[in-house]
Subunit: 428 residues, 2 copies
């Protein structure tokens, strides 16, 4: 890709100095195609490796974070060491008054614009999305795009239960398996599951919650997902656990779930509502309200961006390569839609630090299994996951995004929610 008109190392360094305006880099070194290290040889957490003399131009040409991400997918540059820390470079560029990046947030933010689906990308293609967002057909397509990439790929770096959502760490040193079990237990406790209850799990993934709740709390769970790879493996795993009577996994849109005669005793939705879209939250809460028995509870576990992040707009790396049509409405908007739909807000817990920890586990495990991953996905796809997960860790760590568990009640007759007075039982 290099041509004779490309700048040499010295010219690139001058340009970088000018671009960064003297902002010192603490965690990032840059290594040039000829081996030169900049700003010096001191070891740092991350090394951004420019692969050829035109690399920096390719990285910055678009003026967008999306374009910077695409340069990584094309291997104009690579990152050695700590991917999350490497974002310091992007932040430093973003913070320059000239700000060639219209928004760093595009690294780790969804947005609400239609997809452009242009660009050059040698990895998996979603293809053109037709029709309005959040039709049954289109939602199935976009969910499958992300979650059906390959069960084997996910299995390489998720915990043994394949729980693909924020874990719950009693201490930062907890390992990932332990933290996912703690999360599943935390959910079950918040729902106050009782043996024999009938629970709906919207967006059940590979069955982690359904199997755990059925085995440990004696409930019946109906899990629905739009990813066929998830549905089949979840069913297999429930069978292997001897829980075919208790766990029923269906490849179905939650909007097509039928209400059991007396309604579900409880509903849980973990990392699914990010695919609903804020304009469709009223429909989401109406449907879950209708499915739930009076006196039941609904636990919604989802990412929410900070209201102050609403300024971030524009073409998004996340929207194009990771979660098409995704949306992470701020928690006040989610709670407003829930209350307008009749639900009562009972408890809200912000677990953003837990998601940063979770994502760091995933990134480290993904990186450690790079070579095995190549059997299931290509390099650009690997890089999409590495970049989006490290970028998300950065976002959770800095508070641009948060993870909220919101417990909502559908009060019974006379407005009685039928809940214990305190949350003490969740911590016993």
């Amino acid at each position: 890709m290099a041509t004779t008109t490309e700048p040499g190392t010295g010219t690139t360094i001058s340009f970088l100095n000018k671009l960064l305006g003297g902002t010192p880099l603490t965690h990032v070194s840059i290594r040039f195609w000829d081996g030169t290290l900049w700003p010096d040889n001191r070891p740092r957490a991350a090394t951004v490796v420019l692969k050829h003399p035109g690399a920096l131009r390719e990285m910055l040409a678009s003026g967008t974070a999306k374009g910077l991400g695409e340069a990584y997918l094309r291997d104009d540059f690579d990152v050695e060491g700590d991917m999350e820390q490497s974002l310091e470079l992007a932040v430093a560029l973003e913070n320059r008054p000239a700000g060639w990046l219209n928004s760093l947030a595009n690294f780790y933010h969804f947005n609400r614009l239609p997809n452009a689906h242009g660009g050059r990308f040698d990895g998996r293609e979603l293809g053109d999305l037709k029709g309005r967002q959040h039709t049954l057909t289109r939602d199935r397509q976009v969910v499958s795009f992300h979650y059906d990439v390959s069960n084997d790929f996910y299995q390489l770096w998720l915990d043994e239960r394949m729980v693909y959502s924020c874990a719950y760490f009693e201490t930062p040193a907890d390992d990932l398996d332990m933290a996912q079990v703690a999360k599943l237990r935390h959910l079950c406790r918040k729902l106050r599951l009782q043996p024999g209850q009938h629970i709906l799990d919207i967006g059940c993934g590979w069955g982690g919650f359904a199997i755990f709740a059925a085995r440990n709390f004696g409930v019946k769970v109906m899990g629905v997902t739009l990813a066929s790879g998830q549905a089949s493996l979840a069913t297999e795993r429930a069978k292997a656990a001897g829980l075919t009577d208790a766990v029923n996994i269906e490849l179905r849109d939650y909007r097509e779930v039928q209400r059991p005669e007396n309604g579900f005793d409880a509903i849980v939705s973990v990392g699914m509502s990010e695919h609903v879209g804020r304009d469709h939250l009223p429909e989401y809460f109406k449907k879950t309200w209708d499915l739930l028995k009076p006196g039941g509870v609904f636990l919604n576990h989802a990412i929410g961006e900070n209201l102050q992040q609403d300024r971030f707009r524009g073409p998004s790396f996340i929207d194009e390569y990771v979660f098409p049509d995704g949306d992470i409405p701020p928690i006040p908007i989610v709670l407003g839609a829930a209350e307008s739909g009749g639900f009562e807000v009972r408890d809200v817990e912000n677990l953003r630090e837990h998601y940063a920890l979770t994502l760091r586990h995933w990134v480290r495990r993904l990186e450690a299994s790079h070579d095995q991953a190549m059997a299931f996905v290509n390099e650009p796809t690997y890089r999409v996951w590495r970049l989006y997960m490290a970028g998300s860790a950065h976002g959770f760590d800095h508070g641009a995004i948060a993870l909220y568990q919101a417990l909502l009640a559908k009060p019974g007759p006379s407005g009685n929610a039928g809940l214990p007075l305190t949350r003490r039982d969740w911590y016993e």
Copy 2:
């Protein structure tokens, strides 16, 4: 007040039957001026006593809940037994299709309309409120109207610490003193107070929190209130507790508090923000943000009406006789204003059942001290408190209103909130 043109008992009963359209009353009997009991002699939780043949007309003439409340203040009727349960009658009337009551919610809801300040009332008069709502002058006037009614009056029925806000019951059988201590401890734990910290208590009342936190957690507390009776008694109590160095009470609007050099370590506001008004929430959160150190937390404890209650409008008993200019915005609105002001939502807990329990204690204690209360207030004032507190208990019990403790963080550098990973420490 009775005249020869007033209807007899029989006519009134026919009218009542028609009005209620056959809705059976479970908890309420009506006793007429001549001793007749309706619908029968079976003992019920509450007896509404019509004092004269024109009573029902006086109660219903205005077609508003406010007018019904005023008939109680004028002693057109009285209530024997359980005041809260007596509201069944008002609910039954409200639920009739003809619905002479434009809104039962006026019993226990604030509204956002200017005061009418008409009506006939032989009790305390607020006088005309001039100027815009929530000026410094007007807020001092309306706060003083409610909280300066008489320290001796409040002392008769509040707990020994005189905590005039929702208590925290580990079990429904806890006594009020115990539950208020538990609430104060719950607040201190949520704030994660450390010895030596400097805390601001906005709307400090009679000093309950300030004295408790200083004594048990070794913090310095600045408490501000607009009620001079509160300020002087709080100061007295802090002195008696030997905490003059640690507790500083000021008769001051929170908007006039100066920022300490490094900001307050934490801010608590318990039952005060109901006086702010939703339009002024941005100012409220800007001021508290400015007063707080980076890395500090702000706990806001306040009543919020359910978003679905927004339909209730019109002249309000509460607004005229209890909390002029009061407003209880739904929790999504409060959190939206907080996030827009920079705060991060960390934890939200709904304690509405606790407020119903608290109010029942207050009502029972107030009723038990009726005769002593007459030394400090007149009968209509006594009735204002009895009615508004029983009505509020009804509202909390039925979920029309809720009590939310919201823990908000002002993240430090790099968005670090500096909080423990879990809430487990609040329950140890």
